[in-house]
Amino acid sequence: MSVLELKEISKHFGAIQALNDVSLTIEPGGVVGLMGDNGAGKSTLVKIIAGNFPPSHGSMRVQDREVHFHKPVEARESGIEVVYQDLALCNNLTAAANVFLGRELRRGVWPFRILDYATMYKRAGDLFKELKSETRPRDLVKQMSGGQRQAVAIARTRLSDARIVLMDEPTAAISVRQVAEVLNLIRRLRDQGIAVILISHRMPDVFSVCDKIVVLRRGTKVADKQISDSSPEEVTALITGALERA
């Protein structure tokens, strides 16, 4: 059974063909590295999966059920969560407030519904523990390291029953130690049976956590293979076009 299946997805913006017949299957707990040069169509593909816009052609199935997303919230309801490149965090709020942003827990009876801080702090703490991240729920996000910020963004996806997590460049612009921390977070998600699509430019990251690699070039899928059957050299050649297809 596949958790996500894309069939011949195409997308054009006016005369520009951004994606051309891309098919892709992802298994539960699979970690797929999505690579390609700038403008290869990675972001377009991610945005289609996340429900930002519908494809021009092609179909999409989540857990063997055909889906048509028109808004990001519909994708989220189907169990697809996105960790954005800029992380979409509010620096002026605490880690817990960020995790629960837009889905705050409340207690009491209407109209006396108030925020349930105690439970939110506790659940956020539990999520950080589950991710094995040293992140304190009550700390402000602006005081946090890149790795901790990633943990907050990822913990957010764990609130709902996410089955697929899309991560856009999570290791860009953070320190080496924090990269290791983020890669561990990805492994933690995988261990819980969650499929991860990792968009990255960093070859070592992709080769250390992914089990499958997909390469896009000019809107076309040029490779889709097990990571063990590939090599960084081959992938570089595929991205640049030195190697036509693999």
Binding site: V73, A88, L89, A97, G102, E104, R113, R136
Partner: protein, 331 residues
């Protein structure tokens, strides 16, 4: 000894005292208290019942509007139209009541006018996507012009059958405390509660902190932004009604330039014009401090021409203080 993950996650970084000392509002509050103590010893007129009554009532009007302004500033916006909205509401109350309608109708009409102003501001900002500065600058002009049109620029000083009630509402006292001050206290408590304990309160802070993040996480940003400007206009409307009752007459220059005093009070009280920070208590303390400075200059016999210099310097000092502290933190 290895520290367990549990300990790290549950560790509390700030004690209550260090949290308190890190707040601009606390220091401004301290400054206001010290100024009051100093004035008590330096003059025999400050700590009199009459003077304290006047001081507290005077800052109540600015304080009420400053609470609405704090909501706007937390969300990352600004509302320059509050002075004009206050005037428009006051004129509307005056005209409706002088036409013979009861107080309740007068108040309702004033608040409807204020809500209308807020909705226009909010829709243009949230749905049309125009900058708050431009929209509310336009409204500053439009609302005052409306007040002139409605009243034909005549002073309103007769308020029909309920005149005594209106004068009592704005100028009277309850248990020896000026009514506007009671209104301020009630509104500050409500605002403080909403900021801390409601999802709506969380969301205005989130919008001010990172609007894009709020949108991506499904916060109804546009709807909340309209609400923010409606609340700001509504506080101006309430202050307008109370001011009418206090003054006993309304002219169309009421509240001219008030937006700047209100913004000053909000900023002195710790709200950040970049959005994302601010407290209801801060707005009240900021308004109080400005009034204490004004009052002390008068009592000490210093020319009132100096007022602007003192208030202006305090804005800069309060914010500079905050900057210095955050420099030290980042070291």
């Amino acid at each position: 000894m290895a520290v367990s993950l549990d300990d790290t996650i549950n560790h509390q970084t700030h004690s209550t005292l260090s949290w308190l000392l890190s707040r601009q509002t606390f220091w401004v509050f301290l400054a206001a208290v010290l100024a009051c103590i100093a004035l008590t010893f330096m003059t025999d007129t400050f700590a009199t019942k009459n003077n304290l009554f006047n001081v507290t009532r005077n800052f109540a009007f600015v304080g009420i509007v400053a609470i609405g302004m704090t909501v706007v500033i937390i969300s990352g916006g600004i509302d320059l139209s509050v002075g004009s909205t206050l005037c428009l509401s006051a004129i509307v109350t005056g005209l409706v009541m002088s036409a013979g309608y009861p107080l309740a109708v007068g108040i309702a009409a004033a608040l409807v006018a204020a809500i209308l102003v807020g909705v226009v501001n909010g829709v243009l900002i949230a749905y049309v996507g125009m900058p708050p500065f431009v929209v509310t600058l336009g409204m500053l002009s439009v609302a005052r012009s409306m007040a002139l049109v409605l009243s034909n620029n005549k002073m309103v000083y007769q308020f029909g059958p309920d005149q005594a009630l209106l004068l009592q509402l704005g100028g009277g006292t309850t248990f020896g405390i000026a009514n506007p001050l009671i209104a301020l206290a009630v509104m500050a408590v409500i605002a403080g509660f909403v900021f801390r304990w409601t999802g709506w309160g969380r969301h205005i802070f989130a919008i001010g902190g990172n609007e894009q993040a709020a949108i991506l996480t499904g916060v109804p940003v546009r709807r909340i932004k309209v609400g923010v400007y409606v609340i700001s206009a509504l506080t101006a409307g309430i202050a307008g009604v109370l001011m009418t009752g206090w003054l006993g007459s309304v002219t169309t220059n009421l509240g001219t330039g008030m937006e700047l005093t209100v913004i000053a009070a909000t900023v002195i009280g710790g709200a950040n014009l970049a959005g994302g920070t601010g407290t209801a208590f801060g707005a009240v303390v900021g308004a109080a401090l400005i009034e204490v400075i004004r009052n002390s200059l008068i009592l000490l016999g210093i020319s009132t021409f100096w007022q602007g210099a003192f208030v202006g310097s305090f804005i800069v000092i309060a914010v500079a203080f905050d900057r210095i502290r955050s420099f030290r933190q980042s070291d």
